[in-house]
Subunit: 213 residues, 4 copies
DNA sequence: AATGAATGAGCCTTCATTCAT
DNA sequence: CATGAATGAAGGCTCATTCAT
């Protein structure tokens, strides 16, 4: 077990992270319902009981994973630098950031959207849910602000941002489930296209940016 | 048990359907991973062992359900009648048909997209997968044809149809996971908007319907 | 496993009883908290899961055992025949019946008094508790009626009956825990003595059977 | 943690007592089987491993607690002062002492009588058992001596003392298990009554204090 | 003495599936 | 076809105890 070696050189905090890594890997391979504490422990080089020194329950692991995933998402969006100072470039940079984040780590989509149990949030309390929603919202807020800068009225910016998010998520889902191959299309290309058209539309003088496009 | 009564008046084939109905109901209530054979049997008015007269395994039930779900999807799309004879109305009718199908029966989304990760690689053979893909493709083909009628070149029609599907799926996912409330938006409205804009775009003379919008 | 042989010749109802027998034996050997479903199953010749065809939970087994124990107690009391037609003989017969029941089956004392978990009723709902109390009360009622026949006023009969019960239970506890050997006494003798004195007291003319003795 | 503060001001011996206090508290709250070493440690301001510096095992703690409980019982009996110089008052004082001790600390009953069956045969050696018996005997000896002073012959005094003890224990058990409410009686009253009658009986000239009452 | 991470065995329970009837 | 008892494996979790530090 390389995990065991790592363990001894590691502090308590990073050992917790080790468990989290193992959990992420298992969730990735088996799905969230398919993942077992035993398997997570095995992968972390632990016996099952040891996990409970770090997390109170399986759901606590799930929550920690989810939480951490959203932090990384926000970090990615925050770090995204626009190509130039235009609002259009800003929108593109921020939107690409979240899209790329989910495209690169498709399992984060599952985590973030509870793509388990028929999408129904099961164990997560609504308090949790709200926290998670808030962080997801944070990740999308920069794009929304850029849309306002681009000339959309607030309500329209919100609407367009929602649509943009849905578009991206839909493409990612199609890609992730292999369905997009059916159409011989590429999710990234299609997203770029939608994004480009949105920027163009914003700049078009005839667009009534109050109501719909 | 009314199920038991139905059973005696029914032939072997429709008794199989009875089991399927029970399975659908249980999947709907408990999610796919949460559903148990015991519960399906109970709801069908059978004892657990009896189910195996009709299906080889739990996954076989899942497959049959999936298959049947796609048939109903296709039936819904086929039955959809456009408001008038225009290609635009045709596109709208066909696209709304599948959107409404999934909006009304959100659990079908799970089935159709293996949103329960565990099931995707485990049980479904790629042969199965191809058959399912084909039927999903069938359901979307009328929309694609309408896009061609609207003036899109075949490649562009395919691309637009894919984007449209992704958009709808993304909205449905946001709605179904409760995430859309975060944006105070409505999935149906946004979909109608996207669809309307697509038709307008098709009719716009300046649109080069070869490449992207 | 002789249990296995018995099983095949037995109907469902008696197989349930088989499990109950095994449970009683295990509770006897290991105590209630020490008993495990695995062990009960093993002793009944089953795999652990099979038990759950007969009982919903470990507590359900405990409840069934308790319930059945109280029925046997009542049966023993009901069946007890007095030596002659006098009220004194009636009291002696009925009181000896419950005393002998618990003396012969000391584990029933544990069951009936929750001599577990520091005597605290844990899983048993108060509804259960009331039912059990009622049946215990039933077993003691004949003695109380005999005391009334002996001339005690109802309130005094209740008090004397309670004291008699406590006396017997105390002796049984001392015997059961081996403490009585410390005194080189015999529980049965002491109980007989108390009972005899009680009857004598009832017959004594000077006794004011309204208040205490 | 105030426990931690106490610890530093305390010698090794009293640190052991600290653990014992914590154990008593936990046993009191959770029952003997329900108590965990973790919880005892937590309450003592220690980590689990530290407990093993003071006690070899959980059962060793149980034994120590039991032992100490019996010392307190003896102390209570020794300290009990009779109302006057009569043998009757002496008996009453001593008997009330142990009765009150168990009535006030019902958990001590559990400890003293192994009412948790599991522990009786498992951990306590017979050597232990004898020591405990001896101390319990010590606590009851003053009462026995008072009975002799009251005029009972030694054998009768032993018998009456045993019966008295059983009576008290039975009442306490009924009270502690809530069963006495079923009879709408009070354990203390009934005990006082029994005790009073015993003293009267001793003083009655007709009583042949050789055999039974 | 004390820490606290870790073990290993065990707990109750659930479930897809099999098979004699 | 249908029953339903039974299996065997697995699930999440707890706990007394050990041991390197």
């Amino acid at each position: 077990m390389e995990a065991r070696l790592q363990r001894q050189q590691a502090g308590s905090e990073s050992r917790r992270a080790l468990v989290l890594d193992a959990a992420r890997a298992v969730f990735e391979e088996q799905g969230i319902d398919g993942a077992s504490m035993r398997e997570i422990a095995r992968k972390a080089g632990y016996t099952p009981g040891a996990i409970y020194s770090y997390f109170d329950s399986k759901e606590a692991i799930y929550g920690a994973l989810l939480s951490e995933s959203l932090e990384r998402l926000n970090a990615a969006v925050t770090a995204a630098e626009p190509a130039d100072l235009s609002a259009g470039a800003l929108l593109q940079a921020k939107a690409r950031a979240w899209f790329t984040f989910f495209a690169t780590n498709p399992r984060e989509l599952d985590l973030g959207f509870y793509l388990v149990h028929g999408l129904a949030p099961r164990g997560l309390t609504s308090e949790w849910n709200q926290r998670l929603n808030a962080r997801l919202h944070d990740a999308l807020a920069p794009g929304e602000r850029a849309l306002v800068q681009l000339g959309f009225k607030p309500a329209a910016a919100l609407r367009e941002n929602t649509a943009l998010f849905a578009h991206g998520i839909g493409l990612l889902l199609l890609q992730h489930t292999g369905r997009i191959r059916m159409f011989r299309q590429d999710a990234g290309d299609l997203f770029a296209q939608y994004l480009g058209a949105l920027v163009l539309r914003a700049q078009s003088p005839k667009e009534q940016k109050t109501h719909a496009a």
